[in-house]
Amino acid sequence: MLSALTKILVFPGFLFMSAYGLFLEYLDRKVYARLQHRSGPPWYQPLADFLKLLGKETIIPANANQRMFRILPVISLSAVATAFIYVPVLAKAPSASFEGDLIIVLYLLTIPTVSLFLAGWYSRSVYATIGSVRTLTQMFAYEVPLFMALLAPALIAQTWSVTGMAEFYSQNPLYHLLNIPAFFVALISGQGKLERAPFDLPEAETEIVAGPLVEYSGKLLAIFKMSAVCELVLIASLISAVFLPLMTGNPLLDFLLYLIKTMAVLLFLALLRSAMARLRMDQMIKFCWRILTPIAVVQIIINLVIRGVL
């Protein structure tokens, strides 16, 4: 019981996820700054930001829905924390695993997006309203390719468990080469999921200030920001577990490999963020439906055929 609780709350659960999330955010900002010829923030910056927001006054707008306004950040964070339980950090030892947890993870992944939408909606500010509508519109664009790209490898592995997939691919690494298109689709739509440039329309600073979070301040904003960095860890871990399966069986070595893999995913995402202009909503939807989705569909068909041959 105690060990299960430790697993869920400390390592590799919530506490580890938050700490690693803050570190990944630092890495992301540092790489982004270096790519722009700046020196970037010091290593403790995300932690300082988080602590500062905890100490700030929390203002709730008079015409916002008080209860929803308070509860949504917590829902968002807890959904991400729950999803992280099913993702393997150490080899073969996620905090919990069962057949079909991939579906659960994907399902839980939509909750932060939906709570962001609701947060904007209940803020009753024009910028927040437009931002939240964009959040939802964008979700319909990237969700399909993201799901399909994550499901395609599952077809070959013939398991719906993240851990199972990771095991299958680490035993048969060559099969993984088949999934390379899906890997890139997942990375790019993952960028959309995380609402980072070029898909940062919901919080497009120059258009709608800060999108759904425009009215949030203090602790509630801190929780939302924490939820965003945890989502970053979750996406990076999920992609590296499904598409970069390299496992040795040695827990320490696997943990190191996990760090390397997630950081590699993050570097790619940071590069993507720095090299592109923000897309417009119509361009983003077109891009997702005309380019990403067909690639993912073709991937699924190929994987189905191969599975039939096997």
Binding site: L35, Q36, H37, R38, N63, R124, S125, V126, Y127, T129, I130, A197, P198, D200, L201, A204, E205, T206, E207, I208, V209, S274, A275, M276, A277, R278, L279, R280, M281, D282, Q283
Partner: protein
């Protein structure tokens, strides 16, 4: 700030404080979904009463005040003003001064356009471009600081010439910066024309066709991007532009991409001009002596600011204090087409469309726009009272002792 519902329309205010606007200006955009159906422009937040202030200062003081019309294109304003005064006083400036004015004015164009390029990048969410172009801009500011002593508001012009000389080492430094910028600018031009996300966000946005540009009286890069060759440096040369060859830069795209390309090519042209000026810099004096009292008369003086045609109307009355100055900054001319450009666009394109005319609110805010709906919120009773007391105090009437009954209803 509340969304006004009705026919699914939302009114979204952009400004006066808004991350895409570095200066206060307010755009009330009516949206239907993501489409802009109506745009209302409300400026005047930056109106400081500068023209009026000029009327109570002598010519040298006015010169520094005129420079503060705008911090980005300060040199072009002081040039236009000096030229006007020089014409009234019948002075002709020494050739070296004319060349130095041109060099500083082209350096200013470089820094202003690089600044614009960065802001444009920021508006479309491409912060890397913003950082790159501002990094290069620092080099231009370095030489400007070396030549003029200040990074912004150069203060190099004076009536009858310029205040500082370009020595040998400054010329070498300018030449170095030109060589450095040439490569960078070619890279940016290539980027603008080939980068897929950049051209996806810039092409076809903020269309202002040749006919519309003429109709709305657009100036500067906005007009030139629509194929109208309108450049004061060419059609009515001043200072050393009379001798220095200036190649016209136009484009036919008539959209934001066209304006970007025009600006980058103009920067390349500026490099050529600076190079020519440095090579042919004449020797001699820097100033001619200017009289303290300027003979009565009226003059219109035009210069080519980075943003377009800048017009100063000056009326002198024979004393050492000028009678009237009117500044028509280029942004003021470009505002008129803005509504036309915005309507029918996506909300996502609003910031870049506004940015594409390179608006300079402090230049343009020559008058307060009194908007009845908005004005009522602006000043409460107490504020109005203080204002009126101040107003009368300046006219020698102290009413502050008059007690007013406490009003319950605030206007």
């Amino acid at each position: 700030m509340k969304p006004k519902k009705g026919n699914n329309r939302i009114v979204i205010p952009i400004g006066p404080q808004h991350p895409s606007l570095k200066e206060p200006g307010c755009f009330r955009i009516t949206l239907e979904g993501e489409k802009v159906v109506h745009a209302e422009i409300d400026i005047g937040y930056n109106h400081r009463g500068l023209e009026k202030a000029c009327e109570s200062r002598n010519y040298i003081q006015t010169l520094y005040l005129i420079e503060r019309v705008c911090g980005i294109c300060s040199h072009t304003h002081s040039t236009a003003f000096c030229q006007g005064i020089e014409e009234l006083a019948g002075l002709s400036i020494p050739p070296r001064a004319a060349y130095i004015r041109v060099i500083v004015s082209e350096l200013e164009r470089l820094h202003s356009h690089l600044l614009w390029l960065g802001v444009a990048g920021h508006e479309i969410g491409f912060d890397t471009l913003f950082m790159y172009s501002w990094r290069d801009r620092e080099k231009v500011l370095d030489v400007l600081a070396e030549v003029c002593g200040n990074r912004v508001n150069y203060g190099i012009n004076t009536i009858g010439g310029v205040r500082r000389d370009l020595d040998e080492s400054m010329q070498q430094n300018i030449a170095k910066v030109i060589a450095f910028l040439e490569d960078q600018l070619k890279y940016y031009l290539d980027l603008a024309l080939t980068d897929p996300t950049l051209s996806a966000r810039l092409a076809g946005i903020g269309k202002l066709s040749r006919e519309d540009a003429l109709k709305y009286g657009a100036v500067g890069p906005v007009a030139r991007a629509a194929g109208i060759m309108e450049d004061i440096r060419i059609i009515e040369p001043y200072a050393a532009y009379i001798e220095v060859p200036v190649k016209p830069v136009t484009d036919t795209r008539a959209d934001v991409l066209g304006r970007t390309v025009v600006r980058i090519q103009e920067m390349l042209e500026s490099l050529e001009i600076i190079g020519y000026c440095l090579k042919n810099l004449p020797g001699g004096e820097l100033t001619v002596k200017a009289p303290r009292r300027i003979p009565a008369g009226e003059v219109i003086s035009r210069t080519e600011a980075p943003r377009g045609e800048n017009i100063h109307f000056i009326r002198a009355n024979g004393t050492d204090i000028l009678d009237r100055v009117r500044v028509r900054a280029p942004t003021e001319a470009n505002w008129h087409g803005m509504k036309h450009m915005l309507e029918g666009e996506y909300l996502a394109d609003v910031p870049i469309t506004i940015a594409a005319i390179d608006p300079c609110y402090s230049c343009a805010d020559r008058a307060i726009v009194i908007n009845s709906e908005r004005k009522t919120e602006m000043m409460d009773w107490q504020g109005l009272r203080e204002y009126s007391i101040d107003w009368y105090k300046k006219r020698g009437l102290d009413l502050s002792a008059v007690k007013m009954p406490e009003r319950k209803i605030y206007i």
